[in-house]
Amino acid sequence: MRPWILISTFNMTQQEWIERVVKPALFMVCLIPLALITWDAFNNQLGANPIEKIMRRTGDWTLRFLFITLTITPARQLLNMPWLIKLRRMLGLFAFFYALLHFTNYIWLDQFFDADEIIKDVIKRKYITIGFACFLMLIPLAITSTNNMVKRLGGKRWQKLHKSVYVISIGGVIHYLWLVKKDLGEPLIYAALLAILLGYRIWRYLRKKAPQTPQNTMSPIG
C-alpha cells in the first residue's frame, strides 16, 4: 500500500506528500538523538565523565546515520520504493551533522582548543588520524549536496565524488575498531553491517556486468 494513495484524496501528489509530510517528520526524528543527549546533559544523566559520553554518543550516531544513508539504495531497489531516494540527502547531511558535533566535542570540550595537543593526537594516534581524515572527506560531500552543485558538477562527476562515502564508512568503522581498548564486540557489529551494505553493491555491480541485466537509470539527485 502506498501511503500517498490515501493522501491523494486530499489532492496531494506523491511529491507534495513527501515534501510536506515525510521530510519534515523525518527531520524531527533525526534530531531525537541530539535532543536526548541535550536532555541528559541538563539532567546530569551523562555519568561521571560527560565529555567522554557525548563523544561516544555523537560518534555512534554518525556511524548509524552513515549506515542508514547507505541503506536507502538497497531499500528502494529491493522494496521497489524508488521515492526513498528523496530522503537520502537529508539522512546524509544528518550523518555530517553528528560528525560535526563529534568533532566539535573533541576540539572544544575534550581538548579545549589546545592546538598543540590536537596536532600531536592527529599525527600520533592512528584512530584519531583516520577519524579526522574521514571528517575532512565528509565536508565536500556536504558542500556539494545542493541541487545547484549537482548541476554544476554534472551528474557523473557528482556521483563519482559521492562514492567516497564508501571509503568514509569503512574509515569510520576502523576508527571505532582502533579506539576500543579491548572488547571489539560492538565495532565488529558495525563492521558486519557495513560488509552487508557494501557487499550488496558489489553483488549488484557484478550482476550488472553480466550482459542480460537491464539498464540502471538511477538519478544522482537526492
Binding site: A41, A48, N49, I51, F112, K182
Partner: protein, 320 residues
C-alpha cells in the same frame, strides 16, 4: 555549564539504596558484628560487615603528602559509578549494575610460592592482625582520567612481611577471583581470565602500596573491587587489581592480564609517566573526574619523590 553536579547533599550522607533495601539483613549482620566486637573489642572486621557499611577502628587519614592530599576528593557517587572492572562488563556503568549480587563473604585469600608461611586465610584472619588506616590517593587511569579517593586499608609491606618471603621472592603476583557464574564479564574472552597483576618485591614493600578493604570510611562497594584490592597510586589504574583471591611470590616476573592482551601497549611496570607515549591516549594530560579542563599529568602521578629511586637505573621508555 552542563557538567556541573548538584552538591547540596554529600553523597556519603545519603543512605545507600542497597543498604536501604537490605536493611533487615544489615541489622542482622550488625548484630552479628556487635557480638563479634564483644569478643574482639575495638575492631570491626570488614569481612563481617555488608559492603557499604561503616568501618570502625580506622586510623584517620591526613591531607599531607604522600599518604594524603588536600586536593578535592572525587565524589562517592562518581567513584562508585564510573569503574573499569571488566569482570562485570566493559562499559563504565556496568560494574555498578552487574555486581549487585556479588558475594564477598565468605572470602579466602591464598598465599603461596616463595614464602616460609604459605596459607589459606579467611579474609577476616588475613586482616585481623593489622590496624586499618585511611589514605587519600590520586588514581590515574591509563585512559587519561583521574580521581582522588580516600581508601581504607593496610600497608602491603606489613602483610608481605608476615608471610616471610624467601630470598627467591623477587616478584609478587595477585590474582582476581575467577567465577563466571557471578562475574558475567568473564563469560566472554575479553581478557585472559582470571585477571593477574604483579609487582616487583621492592614495589610491594614500598610504604605507599596498600591493600584496600574500603573507601570513604565504608567497606568497598563490589564495583570497586570488594572485598580486597590493591592500591599502588604511582601506577596506572589497571595495576590496582580487584577482588583478590591469591597472592603468589615468584622468582620470575609474572605476565599480567594486560601485558598478555597488548604487550606493545601495556608493560609490567605501568608507572604513570607523561613522557612515555601510548598509542591510544596521550599521557601528557588527564581529566580529573568532576572537572572540565584537563590538567597536566605528573611523573609517577605526583609520587616521584617517594618512588623515583626504584626506577633510577631503568630506561622508562623500554620498561613502560
Amino acid at each position: 555549564m552542563l557538567i556541573k553536579k548538584p552538591t547540596e547533599i554529600a553523597s556519603s550522607e545519603i543512605t545507600d539504596k542497597r543498604m536501604y533495601f537490605n536493611r533487615r539483613q544489615f541489622i542482622e549482620s550488625a548484630l552479628g558484628v556487635a557480638s563479634a566486637a564483644a569478643v574482639l573489642p575495638g575492631l570491626l572486621l570488614p569481612g563481617a560487615a555488608q559492603a557499604g557499611t561503616r568501618l570502625a577502628g580506622v586510623r584517620p587519614g591526613s591531607t599531607k603528602a604522600p599518604f594524603g592530599t588536600d586536593e578535592e576528593r572525587t565524589t562517592y557517587e562518581d567513584v562508585t559509578r564510573y569503574n573499569n572492572f571488566y569482570e562485570f562488563g566493559v562499559e563504565k556503568e556496568d560494574p555498578a549494575l552487574m555486581s549487585k549480587n556479588f558475594r564477598t563473604k565468605p572470602w579466602t585469600v591464598t598465599v603461596e610460592g616463595e614464602v616460609n608461611k604459605p596459607a589459606v586465610y579467611q579474609l577476616e584472619d588475613f586482616i585481623k592482625p593489622h590496624t586499618l588506616e585511611e589514605r587519600i590517593y590520586r588514581l590515574r587511569c591509563v585512559e587519561a582520567w583521574s580521581m582522588v579517593i580516600p581508601w581504607v586499608g593496610i600497608p602491603l609491606a606489613d602483610i608481605v612481611k608476615r608471610f616471610e618471603p624467601t630470598s627467591k621472592a623477587k616478584y609478587v603476583e595477585f590474582t582476581t577471583l575467577h567465577d563466571p557464574a557471578q562475574m558475567p564479564g568473564q563469560r566472554r574472552a575479553v581478557l585472559k581470565w582470571p585477571y593477574v597483576e604483579g609487582l616487583r618485591i621492592d614495589e610491594a614493600m614500598h610504604p605507599l602500596a596498600m591493600l584496600a578493604v574500603g573507601l570513604y570510611g565504608e567497606t568497598l562497594p563490589n564495583q570497586n573491587g570488594a572485598p580486597l584490592r590493591l592500591v599502588v597510586p604511582w601506577k596506572y589504574g589497571f595495576k590496582n587489581i580487584k577482588s583478590i583471591v591469591k597472592i603468589r611470590f615468584l622468582e620470575k616476573q609474572p605476565t599480567t592480564a594486560w601485558m598478555a592482551a597488548g604487550p606493545s601497549e601495556y608493560g609490567f611496570y605501568a608507572n604513570v609517566n607523561p613522557e612515555v607515549n601510548h598509542p591510544r591516549w596521550s599521557q601528557a594530560r588527564e581529566r580529573r573526574i568532576g572537572e572540565f579542563l584537563k590538567r597536566k599529568t605528573l611523573m609517577f602521578n605526583g609520587y616521584a619523590n617517594q618512588v623515583g629511586h626504584m626506577y633510577a637505573a631503568m630506561d622508562l621508555n623500554k620498561y613502560f
